[in-house]
Amino acid sequence: MSNEFFAGFHPPHPPPGLRERVLQAARTAGARAPSRPLVGRVEWALVAAALALAITHLVLPSTSASPWPAAPAPGQVTSITGDPTVDALLVAEADRWEKDHHRRLLVELGFPEMTWEGRSRK
């Protein structure tokens, strides 16, 4: 737009006297402003907290004894609940599949009465 609108015009400049007034106020404010310490209060608080944590870690004895009983091993779980573990179920399933497979293979080979161990069922 506005090239044609604004041609020959510009925004007004700051009024006379404002420069001195503003710069004087800024200088006064700058002189009053407290110089910021290199490490502020928050930084000091963080450093103190980290130090306290480190000292506590070193001073206090490490106690490995837990007030809670240790978790039972997988085998113990079986003995407690009486149920087979997932692994045991998988092994049994694989064993059954293998026996079926062998039996079908012997039938296809013409030895239906034989077992895989070589003994006759009869």
Binding site: M1, F5, F9, P11, P12, P14, R19, V22
Partner: protein
């Protein structure tokens, strides 16, 4: 569509980067406490900060106070401002926030009587200028501010969004709505 609408640079092309560099140097000097650094920042930015506050507030008094607020804050924390990557936009954002704070404290004005633009040749505002100022006064403050930041401060829409605290799309939308309304008010064909 003109250069400003397409996002091309405004009337002071090539000046923005130069001002940015000089302003960065002036702020660094201010952080080091060098004499004359505050004056250097004034020479580079005062007119722009004053005009932005005037276009946003519609009040010469508020504009002067907003500029004063910016320089007081600058003097209090020169080190923090000297580390800003885009100091020009940052100072404009300071002026924007100072103006909004003043408007909130002082309440809305009844009518805008201010001249947002004056003749470049120094002559009194004639009929054309009065019509232009009336059209600008009829714009919502946020739209008028977007026009100033785009056309006179030469900011991109992204920078305008950052300065005024709105998304880029909103900044661009405000500018385009302002242009449409100015055209309608001034009877100019698109």
């Amino acid at each position: 569509m003109t250069a400003v609408e397409t996002g091309a640079a405004g009337p002071e092309t090539g000046g923005a980067d130069s001002i940015e560099i000089r302003l960065g140097r002036a702020l660094a000097a201010l952080a080091r406490g060098e004499d004359g650094s505050l004056e250097a920042v004034w020479e580079l930015m005062a007119a722009k900060l004053y005009a932005l506050a005037l276009w946003r507030s519609g009040s010469r008094e508020d504009a002067a106070d907003a500029v004063s607020e910016v320089f007081v804050r600058l003097a209090r924390k020169p080190l923090a401002v000297s580390r800003i990557a885009r100091p020009r936009a940052y100072l404009l954002a300071m002026a924007h926030r100072a103006t909004l704070d003043l408007r909130r404290r002082r309440g809305p004005t009844v009518a805008l009587e201010e001249a947002f633009l004056v003749p470049a040749d120094g002559h009194p505002v004639a009929a054309e200028g009065r019509r232009l100022n009336q059209a600008l006064a009829a714009l919502p403050a946020a739209q008028r501010e977007a026009v100033y930041l785009r056309h006179w401060a030469e900011l991109s829409f992204r920078e305008i969004g950052a300065v005024t605290g709105v998304p880029t799309f909103t900044a661009a939308s405000r500018y385009r709505l302002a242009v449409r309304r100015l055209r309608a008010l001034l009877g100019v064909e698109a």
